[in-house]
């Protein structure tokens, strides 16, 4: 069996290597979703790296498109495209921009403006259900993203329409663009707000593979016809001490020397 912990480390290393010195990246909010993506792409999703548009695939949408670096690195590691392509990330002439682009093999939807992914996911899961297909749809959102009213339109709709093939995951890293989510627009207790909309809600640790596995196993067993909402507690900048737990890692840039230092230190932990 694939060692998910090792995969997550390799993905983080690739992300650090892809950073463009002195360029502002959404590094903190990319590092917070590495375990979720690693778990999905290496252990859970039905995907076809050499045939990305295979009709039997599950769909993953990164609604928090600013976390694209983690998605690109995961897709690259999973075999969707070469490391050479990944290393063009955010560079002039590249097709891998800072916000997720569907021009990249394996990326289903171009995102970057918040509050789009869940509704698109509903459209896909509706089509799968009506066509009696078993494909599932996973949408990863940020906690700050839930400020967008469009998400609440989608939350109302998916619960009412019993879209049990739809799984929303919230990367609850507790920070958004300007400050802590608790200071900007506190949504807690989020679980109690989502449940009455006829969703199954799971509170989980977004960095612990065993707990993530338990959560997804529970979803697989669920038979009450409700869509699934995972609140994954995460840590911004997770896995790299220079960024971990720091609000400023949301838009952090590093110079060339710091980048090499961070990578050097990170390699010692492999």
């Amino acid at each position: 069996m694939i060692n998910l912990v090792t995969e997550a480390k390799v993905i983080r290393l690739m992300m650090l290597e892809a950073l463009v010195p002195d360029e502002s990246h959404h590094i903190g909010c990319s590092l917070s979703i590495v375990e979720i993506l690693t778990f999905l792409y290496f252990n859970h999703l039905n995907v076809y790296p050499h045939d990305p548009k295979n009709v039997r695939r599950d769909i993953f949408i990164l609604s928090k498109g600013h976390g694209s670096l983690a998605l690109y690195a995961t897709l690259c590691r999973r075999g969707f495209f070469s490391k050479k392509l990944l290393m063009t990330y955010d560079k002039n002439g590249s097709k891998l921009p800072e916000h997720a682009s569907s021009n990249v093999p394996g990326v289903e939807l171009s995102t970057g403006s918040l509050g789009h992914g869940l509704s698109v996911g509903i459209g896909l899961s509706t089509a799968f259900k009506n066509d009696n297909k078993n494909n599932k749809v996973f949408v990863l959102l940020s906690d700050g993203e839930l400020d967008e009213g469009s998400n609440w339109e989608a939350i109302m709709y998916a619960g009412y329409h019993h879209l049990d093939n739809l799984i929303a995951i919230v990367d609850k890293n507790d920070f958004q663009g300007y400050a802590a989510t608790s200071k900007v627009l506190d949504l807690s207790p989020l679980c109690k707000k989502i449940t009455p909309f006829q969703w199954n809600v799971y509170e989980t640790d977004g960095h612990d593979f065993l707990i993530l596995k338990k959560t997804f196993d529970q979803i697989n067993k669920s038979k009450n016809g409700r869509p699934h909402f995972i609140i994954a507690q995460t840590i911004k900048g997770r896995g790299v001490p220079y960024f971990e737990g720091k609000f400023e890692s949301h838009y952090k840039s590093v110079d060339k020397a710091t980048k090499q230092k961070i990578i050097g230190y990170f390699k010692t932990t492999l």
Binding site: L118, S119, V120, I122, G123, A127, F128, N130, S150, Y157
Partner: protein, 307 residues
């Protein structure tokens, strides 16, 4: 026009089982036939347009052809970014059925008017804009576009627009349609002001002997540049007529085209001025007030010719 459009789409949905119809809780007494015949493929999303466009996009990403129905401002303004990012950037097979072109909604007033729709949709990549003049053109256009796989906006009137075109009608994509030829001026017109424009041209000939060429521009994007240039050369005046604001609509399209091609001719844009309509009234009343009835169109052209 609206009923003809819905009947045509209803027929199409019988043949194409991969088609869906979404509404944002509008279309009472109109869409029930589609709802009854295709309960799984008709979705009333509720009063939630951002979600509606997102759902349409997800359906289209999975290979469906999707029609989305609402009153124009709710259909394209509330959720403009979803249209831009989700539909246009991904070049999805979604037809936006916008009801209530211009001031069709009359006494419902400004919130329900569509005076900026062409201006805001024109810049979107991959978007096609179809602005039919009557039900015949709308229906033939839909038959054509049903074999077309990219974002489409149809600017639809309401119930009782006059029929101008005749069967059999040959719909040619992005090709302006010359209704009559005259050597003095050319009038480009789009949408449901066709009859008023034809009547204004009759009056121009009768009163001051001015002969008009009238060109129906039913596809505003991509625009038929050739016909604009060809019919504008050697004219005293180029006129555009539209039930849309003067900023960014047909008047702008024609002016840009002529300027880009170096055609030196004066353009008179007839449409709705850049200020809020404060009077309440029916479409007929408001057209008269805003000089968009045939007399108003006539008098504006007459004045421009005098200068």
């Amino acid at each position: 026009m609206r009923n003809g459009v819905i009947n045509e789409i209803h027929d199409y949905m019988k043949k194409n089982k991969q088609s869906y119809f979404l509404t944002g809780d509008l279309g009472y007494n109109l869409l029930e036939g589609i709802e009854k015949d295709f309960p799984d493929r008709f979705i009333n999303v509720g009063v939630a347009e951002q979600n509606m466009i997102g759902i349409a996009s997800g359906l289209a990403l999975s290979g469906k052809k999707v029609f989305v129905y609402s009153i124009i401002p709710f259909l394209i303004m509330r959720d403009y970014e979803q249209i831009r990012n989700d539909i246009c950037y991904h070049k999805l097979d979604i037809t936006l059925l916008g009801i209530g072109s211009g001031i069709s909604y009359g006494i419902l007033s400004n919130t329900h008017f569509a005076l900026e729709d062409v201006a805001i949709l024109r810049p979107l990549p991959n978007m096609v804009i179809f602005s039919p003049s009557d039900e015949i053109e709308a229906v033939h256009g839909i038959r054509y576009f049903n074999n077309h796989r990219q974002p489409l906006y149809i600017r639809i009137g309401l119930r009782s627009e006059p029929i101008i075109n005749k069967e059999p009608y040959d719909f040619l994509f992005s090709r302006g349609n010359i209704l009559q030829k005259g050597e003095d001026i050319v009038i480009f017109v789009t949408g449901t002001l066709m009859e008023e424009t034809i009547n204004a041209a009759v009056l121009l000939k009768k009163e001051i002997g001015t002969e008009s060429t009238i060109v129906n521009i039913h596809v505003l994007k991509p625009i038929d540049k050739d016909i604009i240039i060809k019919t504008s050369i050697n004219k005293k005046l180029v006129v555009t007529v539209e039930e849309h604001g003067l900023i960014g609509g047909l008047g702008a399209i024609v002016s840009e085209t002529l300027a880009q091609c170096g055609i030196r001719v004066k353009v008179l844009s007839i449409g709705i001025k850049d200020k809020l309509i404060k009077q309440t009234g029916t479409r007929v009343y408001l057209r008269k007030l805003l000089k968009l009835d045939y007399l108003g169109i006539y008098s504006q052209i007459w004045q421009a010719l005098r200068k």
